[in-house]
Symmetry: C2
Subunit: 244 residues, 2 copies
């Protein structure tokens, strides 16, 4: 069965965490809104979201359709796909540990979004720029070190070694951490300039993911969109400050 991924066209956004897992596993999937024709395109996604009869109504994209099942939220999609794609720990207990780590990624991504939209998602960035500067300053000073420092500690304390965030094999959480680093380096190049020194294990994990053949191939393909200022990670130079 072909997985159907539904997400906004034109951005990496939250959908990218799912794409990386599907691409690493060379899974059979369709990025529905990037295709045209009947049952494809953004219209097909909105039809599900606006349906007045759908029982498994998603609150927001991304969501995944696998046959009759609709699964929404990134962490939930990865929880579901992980074992099927060989990207989850074998041990059941560790699957909850992986899910907990992914939910920390989720929280971090929400905070990244709010650096440029601290007041209202409905307002333009330009209309909340001053508040965005204040929020970004706190994000760079306090939140990046808190989250990246946490993941660095988890890598260091992994009893199976620091090569993976949980267990001794690649999981979807490793792929998500790669994307977190990619996104932060794009959005906050000054703030992230010394990240390799501060978070060496995370940097090594990032590089090892980047070099995996399926990921390397994906990153070079036209399926990987460039970062831009419509997504979650946005580069606004006025929000990026050096950390001393």
């Amino acid at each position: 069965m072909t997985y159907e991924l539904y997400y906004w066209d034109g951005i990496q956004g939250r959908g990218e965490f799912v794409r990386l897992a599907l691409e690493e596993a060379a899974a059979d999937y369709i990025d529905i809104t990037r295709q045209s024709g009947r049952g494809h395109g953004t219209g097909a996604m909105l039809a599900i979201m606006k349906s007045d009869s759908e029982a498994q109504l998603p609150f927001a994209p991304p969501f995944l359709k696998d046959g009759d099942l609709i699964i929404s939220h990134v962490a939930n999609i990865l929880l579901y796909l992980g074992p099927k794609l060989g990207l989850a720990p074998d041990e059941e207990g560790l699957r909850y540990v992986a899910n907990g780590l992914q939910l920390t990624v989720t929280d971090f991504v929400a905070e990244v979004h709010d650096t440029h939209h601290p007041i209202a998602t409905s307002l333009y960035y330009e209309d909340q720029k001053e508040e965005a500067k204040a929020r970004s300053a706190a994000f760079i000073k306090e939140r990046i070190p808190k989250f990246l420092g946490y993941f660095e500690r988890v890598l260091k304390q992994n009893p199976a070694g620091p090569g993976h965030i949980v267990g001794d094999t690649l999981t979807y959480v490793d792929l998500s951490l790669f994307q977190i680093i990619e996104g932060l380096v794009y959005a906050f190049p000054k703030a992230m300039s010394n990240y390799r020194r501060r978070y060496p294990l995370l940097a090594a994990l990032h590089d090892s993911v980047e070099q995996r053949p399926n990921i390397a191939r994906y990153l070079k393909s036209d399926r990987r969109l460039a970062f831009n200022t419509e997504g979650i990670f946005r580069h606004y130079p006025e929000l990026d400050t050096d950390v001393s």
Copy 2:
């Protein structure tokens, strides 16, 4: 085995979503930070969080300890406990639907928090009050209707009937929706004044949960702390506005 719940003492906060499930099921659990003695109290919680050897390091409370397993994040704890407490759907597919709904609750709770802390968690409310007013106005005008309207639609479109948010039995998501309504009515009484008319199915679900014997007994007990301005849901009259 007794479940050990770790959460900040003195507030309902995010821990309350877990407590409601444990209480409804009359599960054997200890609220660790509200007890004293060896292995109890806030010190016991911080010892786990600050450990330099713990393999399953939580990012933040709440977390649950079940034997050797540490599970963090509310939705993850409920995913784990749900089947054990008889509070998850029997059908596996619906468990992912339940988890997706709970993750929407999670996102909403994060937005509730940011109404009083839109710039930085590290700053006092008083130091971001003007921004909090702007964010709360947008929250009341746009986000409460978006989230509660979504849950109302899901109830209406539940093929098993509108008595539960998923399937035909009580799940932990129903309990969490009760808590969402309780918290919003406490924090934003003006904005929520007409919620029964606008979201009748949610109101009915709230009332049915409130009347369950184990929940009713819990709400009257001293284990249920009062809402206060230290938790997630805070009542600051200046942030609460009428919806017309």
